[in-house]
């Protein structure tokens, strides 16, 4: 179980959080301009890296704020935590 540092509340158990999948997947500005496969990409296709991964978490049993985390998918080490809306930090490999 991860120990996640909520930007607002500090370190809390993973049990208090809700996972939100890959971060920085913006809703398309003009969905009607997309082909089926482009729309399908938006809906269903996500990265699955072995390494650092930017993902969304919500402190659903705490302050209820959404924020972003960069987590190493092999070690689960959390490399960065930053508020929603901020750009993805540059994580050195």
């Amino acid at each position: 179980m991860l120990l996640i540092a909520c930007p607002w509340c500090g370190e809390r158990e993973e049990l208090e959080f809700h996972y939100g999948g890959q971060a920085h997947v913006a809703h398309p500005a003009e969905p009607e301009g997309l082909s089926d496969s482009q729309w399908g990409e938006y809906l269903f296709v996500r990265d699955n890296p072995k390494g650092p991964f930017a993902e969304r978490w919500s402190h659903s049993a705490g302050c209820r704020r959404w924020f972003n985390v960069v987590r190493h998918t092999v070690t689960h080490e959390i490399l960065a935590v930053y508020p929603a809306g901020q750009p993805k930090p540059v994580i050195l490999p």
Partner: protein, 923 residues
């Protein structure tokens, strides 16, 4: 009852002195129906051995006699079920502390769950610490001491009743005193430090992400089977540590030769533990078989305890001269470059046969018989890397140690002592001190590395010579049916050979095919031996070329009762009840669970079954007046200047222009266009809407709204608050509901013109309670919903019942609600949909356009047909601009034309011509 495995004609096996048992505290116990006596400090296993009992039931599949093989958690044979309230199966005699009156039955691999209730209490504790040390042997004690002196919080966990680890079984010296005196001093110093906690009888069973460990503590099991008032029987510790130091020790490996499963074939280290720690002689005439230095101490201790050691058989052609000399001085014959090639006996080992081995492990020269009643075997040492491996740490095969040792850590963890392959006492202390100090330092507590005290008695061992597969005297591996690889599973070399011949090469495959390593012991002692056998049969050079399996938690079996803790019975899951619940209970409601809510399902009268009750309730709602507690519908306050714009985006239809005090049905879709939820939303003020959701989905809808608000549209000035439990909702339903309202609120004009469908009125009831009354319908009847602050819910419900009494008002439950809505063709999200339903297919499920509106909440009411769907403008799948699935808002059963994008355009048809079949909008 006679025990076939009891060895007769032997003097008492309890040694007259020594050991950590209390000779002043004899304890009576019963095993398999026979009464015996042991001592406080015994395990059931040591007490049985002291009584000359082999101590295990026959093997599971082949019914072969078996005996106690080890002295610890790695025991493959000695399973018992302990009698008592909540009788627990599958316990190990080797870890079960003896108590007065203990009654145990041996098990052949399978226990029986006690069908009766377990009266014991189990609880949980959560703990944060800077340093967690697992294992209180010399390395773990050293680590805890070094870390504790820094002022850091330290938790030291050990599964034994007292610290000491391997020192409990030996007679080493540390700092000029017996090692256990040093242990006592260390314990005293640690206990005096306020930041240090020592958990004995506690096993770290699981090592999870971010240094999160579960520790199972046995608090009263050593006192007897009955609950101790005020004390939980077992406690599960959830520990989060900045740094972990694993000092988990190692397990001695068995060897694989013919007859290696006979009672009397034991781990050499276990024999030493029984002699030194428990003052029990497991045999009178022993043969010691070893691949390494360690068993020499066992041989010497056996002689010192009065046993005869017929021979010490060492696989190495040239063992260290000092060890050989010491053994010979004690009168032990040392046979080098040889091995035991078979153990024989009917109920227990009576003789072994030894022979010289060549460099390829083949038998050379004559075979020799040696009579014995004990064969002490050391096949080498396997570091206990189970927790390390659970923490995603890797291992590598070390040829000098002939063992898999820790390689790369994946968490903030260090591993010391025998668990990393360090087998000498000085090395364990050195490593423990250094790791403890480093753990404290990296947790922010400057720590010095204590100087390692002088010590003696356990020196650095020389190179072992493993013999992974001792050849049989005849036949080939396919016929070696008595060379046991996993005793509990009765799996043999012949079984492994069959797997290899079938083409399997991976350890994981062979493990699954043969079931090796899958019993209660998870192959703690035998897994690497099994890998060695596989390597031999595959022609690999070492087990390292074959690889090892990974370990999963729990390290030892954990009772489900402990995992459940106090969260059982009524505390298993929170139960939500409405303010009106006491009335329902008092009036005989039959309840059903909807999510965590308890809702009345129906209200049977005397003699009624469910069908009769539901028919009666339905009749009242259709022909007269009925009343339902609708409090459980989710309610969310949507407040802010942009509340209307926000609703426009999350619903498939528009809300921004909804008049104040008016309600509108809305349907919510996920981004993929599937129906997610629906309900009526009421506008209370320019900047304030009250959204209702389905009962079971209220929390999910709030999460969904928050997600979009925070992550996609942070510019919208909107706040969301769950108010489900702040409002009690009483639905008054049926053609005569207007009369009840008239009596309840004499000042309110409830006529159709003055109070039309889908509108709301803020008012005060005749009893003075402020109320919001909405004319909305759940199941197509004329209906009013009275919303009051929760604490008035029961009083208002009772006044509704009172006001409706002359009209025969009838309370009804969810079953009637389902009949009513189903007969109108209104589906319910989550019951009639499954996450693969689009608004379009959902609408098609209705029987006619007028009824396609739907839902627990949707409702046109009987007085005003076909209204609820009146949406028009924008919004849906979270776009701020129109898109195809967004237009699902005004869904139609007729797909008009594909979008230019290829997706179906679901705008309203010019004429509503139903299609001949229900097509899938996603084709």
């Amino acid at each position: 009852m006679s025990d076939p495995f009891r060895l007769p004609h032997r003097p008492a096996r309890r040694l007259p002195a020594g050991g950590r048992v209390d000779r002043s505290a004899p304890l009576r116990f019963t095993y398999d129906g026979t009464r015996y006596t042991g001592l406080r400090g015994d395990t059931l296993a040591s007490a049985l051995l002291a009584n000359g009992v082999a101590g295990a039931s026959p093997s599971l599949y082949r019914g072969r006699p078996r005996g106690i093989a080890t002295a610890g958690v790695e025991e493959p044979n000695a399973l018992v079920q302990v009698a008592g309230p909540g009788s627990e199966p599958m316990l190990l005699a080797t870890t079960l502390e003896l108590y007065e009156g203990l009654t145990a039955t041996g098990l052949s691999g399978r226990g029986r769950l006690d069908p009766g209730p377990d009266p014991a209490v189990y609880d949980k504790m959560h703990l944060h610490t800077e340093v967690l040390v697992v294992g209180a042997g010399p390395a773990g004690l050293a680590a805890a001491l070094a870390a504790g002196r820094s002022g850091a919080r330290v938790v030291l966990v050990d599964d034994q009743p007292e610290p000491g680890g391997s020192l409990l079984a030996g007679h080493e010296e540390i700092d000029g005193v017996p090692a256990l005196d040093w242990v006592a001093a260390v314990r005293e110093e640690l206990a005096a430090r306020p930041g240090v906690r020592i958990l004995t009888r506690s096993t770290a069973t699981g090592y999870y992400d971010h240094n999160y460990l579960l520790v199972a503590e046995h608090r009263t099991d050593h006192l007897g089977p009955h609950p101790v008032p005020g004390v939980s029987r077992q406690r599960l510790w959830h520990i989060r540590a900045r740094r972990v130091v694993l000092a988990t020790g190692s397990h001695e490996r068995p060897m694989v030769f013919a007859g290696n499963d006979l009672p009397g074939v034991m781990s050499a280290a276990a024999v030493r533990a029984y002699v030194n720690r428990y003052a029990v002689l497991p045999g009178h005439r022993a043969v010691v078989l070893t691949t390494n230095d360690h068993a020499y101490a066992t041989a010497l201790d056996l002689v010192a305890a009065g046993a005869e050691v017929s021979a010490l058989v060492d696989t190495r052609p040239e063992p260290p001269a000092g060890l050989v000399d010491a053994a010979r001085r004690a009168g032990i014959e040392v046979v080098t470059g040889s091995c035991v090639v078979g153990a024989y006996g009917d109920a227990a080992v009576a003789a072994v046969r030894t022979a010289a081995l060549d460099a390829d492990d083949a038998v050379t020269g004559p075979v020799r018989d040696l009579a014995c009643d004990l064969l002490a075997v050391s096949g080498g040492w396997s570091p206990a890397v189970q927790l390390w491996s659970q923490a995603q740490g890797t291992t590598r095969y070390d040829e000098d140690l002939a063992a898999f040792v820790p390689a790369r850590a994946a968490q903030h963890v260090d591993i010391v002592g025998a668990a990393r392959g360090v087998l000498d006492l000085a090395g364990c202390l050195d490593g423990g001190f250094a790791a403890g100090a480093e753990a404290a330092r990296s947790a922010g507590f400057p720590a010095a590395v204590p100087a390692t005290p002088a010590n003696s008695g356990d020196t650095r061992p020389s190179r072992p010579r493993p013999v992974w597969l001792v050849p049989g005297e005849d036949g080939d591996p396919s016929t070696w049916h008595d060379h046991f690889v996993d005793l509990q599973r009765d799996a043999t070399v012949a079984d492994v050979h069959r797997a290899v011949r079938a083409g399997m090469r991976s350890v994981e495959h062979i493990k699954r095919y043969t079931t090796i390593g899958t019993a209660h012991d998870q192959g703690k002692a035998s897994a690497v031996s099994a890998t060695g056998v596989i390597a031999r049969l595959l022609g690999a050079r070492t087990p390292g070329d074959v690889g090892t399996t990974t370990y999963r938690g729990p390290y030892v079996p954990v009772p489900f009762a402990l995992l459940a803790g106090r969260e059982r019975g009524p505390l298993f899951d929170p139960v939500r009840t409405t303010a009106i619940h006491p009335w329902h209970t008092a009036h005989g409601a039959v309840f059903e669970n909807v999510g965590q809510w308890q809702r009345p399902r129906y209200f049977p009268l005397a003699g009624e079954d469910m069908d009769a009750a539901v028919l009666r309730e339905c009749r009242a709602a259709r022909a007269g007046v009925a009343v339902m507690d609708a409090t459980t519908l989710g309610k969310i306050d949507v407040i802010g200047p942009d509340a209307g714009a926000f609703l426009n985006r999350v619903y498939t239809n528009a809300f921004a222009r909804l008049a104040v005090n008016s309600a509108r049905y809305g349907m919510m879709c996920r981004a993929d266009g599937m129906v997610f939820d629906d309900g009526v939303t009421l506008r209370l003020a320019e900047d304030h809407y009250l959204m209702t959701t389905t009962t079971g989905n209220a929390a999910g809808v709030l999460d969904w709204l928050e997600e979009w608000l925070q992550t996609e549209w942070p510019e919208l000035r909107v706040r969301l608050t769950s108010v489900t439990e702040q409002w009690a909702t009483v639905a008054v339903v049926g053609p005569r509901s207007r009369e009840v309202l008239g009596a309840l609120v004499p000042d309110l004009d409830v006529s159709n013109d003055a109070f039309p469908f889908m509108t709301a009125r803020e008012t005060r009831l005749a009893n003075g309670v402020e109320a919001r009354i909405c004319r909305i319908s759940f199941s197509g009847e004329l209906a009013f919903e009275i919303n009051v602050a929760s604490w008035y819910g029961l009083a208002v419900w009772e006044s509704v019942i009172e006001a409706g009494r002359p009209l025969g008002i009838t309370p009804y439950g969810t079953e009637t609600m389902h009949v009513l809505r189903a007969e109108k063709g209104y589906p319910i999200v989550g019951q009639d949909t499954d996450g693969t339903v689009t608004p379009w297919t959902w609408a098609w499920s209705g029987s006619s356009p007028g009824r396609r509106t739907s839902s627990e909440n949707a409702r046109s009411d009987g007085a005003t047909p076909a209204a609820a769907t009146a949406g028009n403008s924008s919004a849906c799948c979270r776009s701020t601009r129109p898109c195809c699935c967004r237009r699902a808002r005004s869904w139609s059963p007729t797909p008009k034309r594909p979008c230019p994008s290829g997706r179906w355009d679901m705008s309203p048809p010019a004429t509503a011509a139903p299609p001949s079949a229900a097509p899938s909008p996603w084709r």
